[in-house]
C-alpha cells in the first residue's frame, strides 16, 4: 500500500513534468530546436495567474489568463528570437531563446520580486480515500487536468487542420511550403500551443506545491528536458511516458537517495542517452509529432 501511495504521488508530479515535456517536445519535433525560454514562459504564465488572482479575478479565469499570457510570450519569443535565425546552426537559436528567457525572467522579477509566493490550490485542502489510499483532492485535479490536456493536444495534432499542418512541417518544411501550408504561421502555432501546454504544466506544478517562485521555471524545465529525452525527444507519447516514469522514480527511489532526490532525473537522462540515444520510444523518431 505504501508503494502504491508513492506511485500515485509520483504520477501526480510526473504528469506535470509530462505536460512541460510535451510543450518542449512539440517545438523540438516540428523544428528540431531546443526552446530554452520554455521554463521562463511557463513561470511567467504561473505568475500572471497569481497576479490576476490577487487582483480578485476568479481562479479559473485567472488560469485562463495565465495560459494566454504564456502563449503570447511563446509566440513573441518565436518571432523575435527564433524566426530570424531559423536556418542557422542549431546552437544559435538555442542561445537566442536562452537570452529571451533571461529577459522574461528579469521582467517577472521586477514585477513580483524574487520571493516565494503562496499559490491558491484549485480545490482547497482535503483528501479522497480509496481503500487505504489517501489522495489529496488537488492531486486528483492535477491528474485529471493533465490527462485531459495531453489527450486534447494529441487529438488537436491528429484531427485538426492546424495539427495536420504542424505534422507536415515536422516531416519536411520545404515540401509543406510547396503544398501550400503556411509555414511561418504554423511555426507560430507550434510555439503558441507548446507555450500553452507548458503553462498548464506550470500551473499544475504550482497547484501541487501551492507556491510560485522565480526559479520554478528552470526547475520544472530541467525535469521536462529529462522527460522529453527519456521518452525520445520530439516524440509526444514518449514525452508523456518519460514524465510519468521520472515522477514515479522520484517518489519511489527518491527517498532512498536522501538529499540526492533531484539527481534521479539527471542520472536517468544521462544513462538513457548513453544506452539508447534516441530514448525509450526512440525507434519511432522518424515519425515524430
Amino acid at each position: 500500500m505504501e508503494l502504491l501511495q508513492q506511485i500515485i504521488n509520483g504520477l501526480t508530479i510526473g504528469s506535470t513534468y509530462a505536460l512541460v515535456a510535451i510543450g518542449f517536445s512539440v517545438v523540438y519535433g516540428a523544428l528540431g530546436l531546443v526552446n530554452f525560454a520554455h521554463g521562463d514562459i511557463l513561470m511567467a504564465g504561473a505568475f500572471s495567474t497569481y497576479g490576476l488572482y490577487t487582483l480578485g479575478v476568479p481562479l479559473p479565469l485567472a488560469c485562463l489568463g495565465g495560459i494566454v499570457v504564456g502563449s503570447l510570450l511563446a509566440v513573441a519569443v518565436e518571432e523575435v528570437a527564433v524566426r530570424p535565425v531559423l536556418t542557422q546552426h542549431l546552437l544559435i537559436p538555442m542561445m537566442t531563446t536562452l537570452g529571451a528567457g533571461l529577459i522574461i525572467r528579469n521582467i517577472v522579477e521586477r514585477i513580483w520580486g524574487n520571493g516565494t509566493l503562496p499559490f491558491p490550490s484549485f480545490t482547497g485542502g482535503g483528501y479522497v480515500h480509496i481503500g487505504d489510499l489517501q489522495i489529496s483532492k488537488s492531486a486528483v485535479v492535477t491528474l485529471v487536468v493533465a490527462f485531459v490536456a495531453m489527450f486534447a493536444f494529441l487529438a488537436f495534432l491528429k484531427f485538426t487542420k492546424a495539427g495536420f499542418a504542424i505534422r507536415a512541417v515536422a516531416q519536411d518544411m520545404t515540401a509543406a511550403r510547396l503544398m501550400g501550408v503556411p509555414v511561418n504561421r504554423t511555426i507560430a502555432v507550434v510555439y503558441l500551443t507548446g507555450g500553452a501546454m507548458g503553462v498548464v504544466g506550470g500551473l499544475l506544478y504550482a497547484n501541487t506545491l501551492e507556491v510560485v517562485y522565480l526559479g520554478m521555471g528552470f526547475a520544472v524545465l530541467l525535469k521536462g528536458f529529462a522527460a522529453a529525452i527519456v521518452g525520445g525527444i520530439g516524440n509526444l507519447q514518449g514525452a508523456m511516458i518519460g514524465g510519468l516514469v521520472i515522477g514515479v522514480l522520484e517518489s519511489t527511489v527518491g527517498p532512498a537517495t536522501g538529499s540526492y532526490r533531484d539527481a534521479v532525473a539527471f542520472v536517468l537522462l544521462i544513462a538513457i542517452l548513453l544506452v539508447r540515444p534516441t530514448g525509450l520510444l526512440g525507434a519511432r523518431i522518424q515519425e515524430r509529432v
Partner: protein
C-alpha cells in the same frame, strides 16, 4: 567597424594595454585591482568554454562544474597539504580535465543539443554534490580561510602579487588558446563546428576532436577555478551554480566566439559592468539577454567583430605536436604541400 585601424596600431594598443595591466596595482586603488583580477579569472574560465563552444560548437551548460572541480580540488590541497602551488595547479587542472573528458565522452553518442542537456544535468548533480558532501566540500557554507601559498618563493598573500600571478597565468592561457586556434587541431575543431560530415570526409577524427576539445576546455576552466581560490581565499557552492554556467556562455557570446581576445572583451564588459554599474543590477539579466539577442542576430562575431579584431581565416602556424592530434591514421604524411591543400579546403568550409 574599426577594421580601418592598421594591424600594427592594434598590436601597439595591445602592448600598451599589457603594460598598463602590469602596472595597474601601482596606479589604482585595491578595489579596482580586485575587480581586474576577477575579470582575468573569468577570462580564463571563458577561454576554456570558448574552445568547446566557440571552436567545436558544442554547448556546455555545466561549465561551472569543471570550474568548481578545479576550485575545490585546489582548496582541499591548499588546506590539507603543504603542496607547492605549481603542483596544486597541475592537480586541479588535470582533475577538471579528466572530469571534462568523461562528460565529453557522452558527446560520442549524444549530438549537439542533447549534449547541452547532459551538461546541464551534470552541472545540477555537481551542485547537489557540493551541498550534500559536507565533510569534503563544507556544504552550503563552503571552505573559508584558504592560504594563498607561494609560487617558487613568491608570496601570493598580498593582493597585488595575486593579481600579477593571475595576469601571468591569463597571458599564458590566452597565448595557448591563440596557438591552439591556429594549429591543425584548431582548424579541425572549426571544421567539426561547421559540418561534421564534411569534416569527416577530410580525414578529421570527429569524435576524438570533440572529446579532446571538451577535455582541454574543462582543464582550462579548472585552472580558472584555482585562480579564483587564490583571489578569494574561499570557495562556496554559490559560485558554481547553473547561473554561473549561463553567465560564462554570455561572456563568450558577447565577447566573440572562436577568437582569442573575445573572452577578455566579454569579461571586461560583463564582469566590469556588474561591479561598477550597481544601478544596472536590477536589470542585469535583461540587459545581457538583449545584448545576446542583438549580437546573435546581427553581429555573430560579438565584440571582437565589432572592434574588428577577429580575422575570419587566421593564418595557420605549424606546430610540432598539436599538429598531429586529431589526424586520422593513414592520412597522408604531413608534407607541406598536402597540408596546404587541406588547409585550403578547410578555409573554404569555414568561410561557407
Amino acid at each position: 567597424m574599426l577594421q580601418v585601424l592598421p594591424k600594427k596600431l592594434l598590436w601597439a594598443i595591445g602592448a600598451i594595454a599589457l603594460v598598463a595591466a602590469v602596472l595597474l596595482p601601482n596606479l589604482v586603488e585595491p578595489y579596482t585591482v580586485r575587480v581586474a583580477a576577477l575579470i582575468l579569472v573569468f577570462t580564463v574560465f571563458a577561454t576554456g568554454l570558448n574552445i568547446i563552444l566557440g571552436f567545436t560548437g558544442l554547448l556546455s551548460f555545466g561549465h561551472a562544474a569543471v570550474f568548481g572541480v578545479g576550485a575545490y580540488v585546489s582548496a582541499r590541497l591548499l588546506l590539507d597539504t603543504g603542496m607547492p602551488l605549481l603542483l596544486v595547479m597541475v592537480a586541479a587542472t588535470v582533475g577538471a580535465g579528466v572530469v571534462g573528458l568523461l562528460v565529453g565522452l557522452t558527446s560520442w553518442r549524444a549530438g549537439g543539443d542533447y549534449l547541452a542537456l547532459v551538461t546541464l544535468g551534470v552541472g545540477q548533480i555537481f551542485y547537489l554534490f557540493l551541498i550534500n558532501e559536507k565533510d569534503l566540500t563544507g556544504g552550503a557554507t563552503g571552505l573559508p580561510g584558504i592560504p594563498a601559498g607561494n609560487f617558487f618563493g613568491w608570496d601570493l598573500a598580498p593582493l597585488e602579487n595575486t593579481y600579477l600571478f593571475i595576469l601571468a597565468v591569463t597571458v599564458v592561457v590566452m597565448g595557448f588558446a591563440w596557438v591552439l586556434g591556429r594549429s591543425y587541431f584548431g582548424r579541425a575543431m572549426l571544421a567539426v563546428r561547421e559540418d561534421e560530415i564534411i569534416a569527416r570526409a577530410h580525414g578529421i577524427n570527429v569524435p576524438l576532436t570533440k572529446v579532446l576539445s571538451f577535455g582541454i576546455g574543462s582543464a582550462i576552466a579548472g585552472l580558472a577555478g584555482v585562480l579564483q581560490v587564490l583571489l578569494l581565499g574561499f570557495v562556496g557552492p554559490a559560485t558554481f551554480k547553473v547561473d554561473q554556467s549561463i553567465l560564462v556562455v554570455e561572456i563568450v557570446l558577447i565577447g566573440g566566439m572562436a577568437t582569442t581576445i573575445g573572452p577578455l572583451l566579454g569579461s571586461i564588459l560583463v564582469i566590469g559592468s556588474t561591479e561598477y554599474l550597481r544601478a544596472l543590477a536590477d536589470y542585469r539579466s535583461a540587459v545581457f539577454g538583449v545584448l545576446m539577442l542583438v549580437i546573435l542576430l546581427w553581429r555573430p562575431g560579438g565584440l571582437a567583430q565589432i572592434f574588428g579584431l577577429s580575422s575570419r581565416t587566421p593564418n595557420a602556424v605549424r606546430l610540432p605536436f598539436i599538429g598531429r592530434i586529431g589526424r586520422r591514421k593513414g592520412a597522408p604524411a604531413a608534407t607541406p604541400a598536402a597540408d596546404e591543400i587541406e588547409d585550403e579546403h578547410e578555409k573554404e568550409e569555414v568561410s561557407r
